[in-house]
Amino acid sequence: MVSSVFLSSFPILLPDPGLIFWASLIFLAVYFFLGRVALKPIQKALKKREDDIQASLDEAKKAREEMSNLKAENEELLRQAQEERAAILKEAKETKENIIAEARDKAKEEAQRIVTNAKEEIENKRLEVITSVKNQLGLLAIDIAEKLTRNELKGNKEQETLANTLIDEIKFN
């Protein structure tokens, strides 16, 4: 009973057609205006900015990775270079030692060869000298034989004694 009085005097609970009309009109106007002028552009701008930020972050991360990769590569290169240097040095040392050893061997060989040659020469010279002595002796023998031949004409006995003496002399020589 009392409640019905209260409700009938409670105007905000009664839907007013005029208010419904204006509320619909204003809400639709606001929706279409805001949607077109503000909400959609803001939505797009925010999305674009977020994408940009994400892209920048990704790029920075990529750059950092590339940097670290580059650094690692550089270190690798440096390490390789150092290794190479060490190898080259080692090789050079080996080569130097080889060259020295070779040179020493060669020198030794040469010395040997020179000594051998000298010896051969000496031998040759000696043989030459001997040959020459022998030739000289031969000539001498021929001379002696000539003299003997000339002495033969004087007596046999004397001839024989002379020949023997000469032969002994030769042998002695």
Binding site: M1, V2, S4, V5, L7, S8, S9, F10, P11, I12, L13, L14, P15, D16, P17, G18, L19, I20, F21, W22, A23, S24, I26, F27, A29, V30, Y31, F33, L34, G35, V37, A38, L39, K40, P41, I42, Q43, A45, L46, R49, D52
Partner: protein, 426 residues
């Protein structure tokens, strides 16, 4: 590093400072409210000492009106757009009605609202009347119970003519019903809605311009104020409720709902002229907003959505027979709950604040008792300050709740069928 730290400290300090100043401001503001409302209600009619009627005062303040009460005796006239089937459209400003002392085409101002004299014997055009008289009539309704009804009469040449309220679409169940005319005026509520709409458009125009001007730069000014709210609404409401795939289509609608309700709520909390109207605490406004949610939800409902309403997959047929009517009812109940929730919350807030202000007049016995009024001011001031802060929170929460629930209804309507449905069907 040191520089950064100092800047950070400065920012924190200035923020704390600002929060503190804002709190102080709100407190002073709320105390001021109390004083303003107090003087407002002091507006005794025709110099007569009337007994203070707390319920009547509160109801008058939360109701819609055809003029905007600014200060004691000062009203802003608003345009009246009235339609009576038979005599057609009538347009004039409310100041023409002279607060119930002039009738224009049988229209009379009664308690700030335009009423109409249905009697054809009353002359058309501008007519001076003696005034409006309120009479409590007792009669019995169809159940045999006694009903007290307050009826207003226009007194003209010592004759009383009954005044009719404008038509209301409640089907007569709540005491409204269709009468002899319709009121399409720019009322206090419509005026506030227009103000909220203009403010909203202006603020968002500036924000959108900010995005164009500061493209590729950090946000500036009002743009940085709205942006966190916008992003919060997007990340906490539209994306999780509607889903990554569809949210972009419905985001403008949800955002418009949220910001429109928020602006109306906040304007309602301002106690003086451009504010104070109870917009979102009026059932017609929440009805419209809920109907829009209903329309958007159901015209976008996919096959999967309708299937779940009319023939829920995966349950026995006899359960379906029970479930289908429940689901069909839920189509209406969902927007209905949206309508009632917002209406009740905002109205309740206005009623509580007005009741606390009313303590001043109750304790002070309408200004006769200075001591009582002082106690009333102190008590009412503290309570009103507290309630205003609560209402500020409620203004945000109710706008958020309306938006998130609308988003969840739309989300359910556009959700794609899960492949799991066939699995739990057997």
């Amino acid at each position: 590093m040191v520089n950064l730290e100092t800047t950070y400290k400065e920012v924190v300090l200035s923020t704390m400072n600002r929060v503190f100043l804002t709190s102080i401001f709100l407190l002073i503001f709320s105390l001021l409210n109390t004083a303003i409302w107090a003087s407002d209600s002091d507006d005794a009619k025709d110099g007569k000492k009337e007994e203070y009627d707390p319920v009547g005062t509160v109801v008058e303040h939360i109701a819609d009106a055809n003029e905007f009460h600014i200060w004691k005796g000062v009203h802003m006239p608003l345009p009246c757009i009235l339609y009576a089937p038979g005599s057609g459209w009538t347009f004039f400003m409310t100041n023409k009605l002279d607060h119930g002392h002039t009738a224009v085409d049988r229209y009379v101002l009664n308690h700030g609202r335009v009423n109409r004299i249905a009697d054809d014997s009353f002359p058309m055009g501008e007519v001076h009347i003696e005034g409006v008289e309120h009479v409590e009539e007792h009669h019995t309704d169809e159940n045999g119970e006694e009903v007290i009804e307050e009826v207003a009469y226009a007194v003209y040449h010592d004759q009383k003519y009954k005044l009719e309220h404008a038509s209301k679409w409640d089907g007569g169940v709540l005491g409204g019903g269709v009468t002899s005319f319709y009121d399409f005026s720019i009322t206090k509520v419509v005026f506030t809605m227009l103000l909220a709409a203009v403010l909203l458009c202006w603020v968002f125009f500036l924000v959108a311009r900010g995005y164009k001007r500061n493209d590729g730069k950090a946000p500036k000014g009002i743009q940085s104020f709205i942006e966190p709210i916008f992003i919060f609404m997007r990340d906490e409401v539209t994306i999780p409720m509607i889903g990554e795939k569809h949210y972009e289509r419905f985001q403008p609608f949800i955002m418009t709902l949220f910001f429109f309700i928020l602006f109306c709520n906040l304007l309602g909390l301002i106690p003086f002229f451009p504010g104070s109207a109870n917009v979102t605490g009026n059932i017609a406004i929440t009805l419209v907003l809920a109907v829009f949610t209903f329309i958007v939800t159901n015209i976008n409902g996919n096959k999967h959505y309708w299937e779940h309403i009319f023939w829920m997959p995966g349950i026995p047929a006899w359960v379906k027979l029970i479930l289908t009517p429940v689901e069909v009812l839920s189509l209406i109940i969902k927007p209905f709950s949206l309508m009632i929730r917002l209406f009740a919350n905002i109205s309740a807030g206005h009623i509580i604040i007005l009741s606390f202000v009313g303590l001043i007049f109750l304790f002070g016995n309408m200004g006769e008792n200075f001591g009582g009024a002082t106690i009333g001011v102190l008590l009412g001031g503290v309570f009103t300050a507290f309630m205003n802060l609560i209402e500020l929170l409620v203004a945000f929460i109710q706008a958020f709740v309306f938006a998130i629930l609308s988003a969840s209804y739309i989300g359910a309507a556009v959700e794609d069928a899960h492949h799991g449905d066939e699995a739990h069907a057997h």
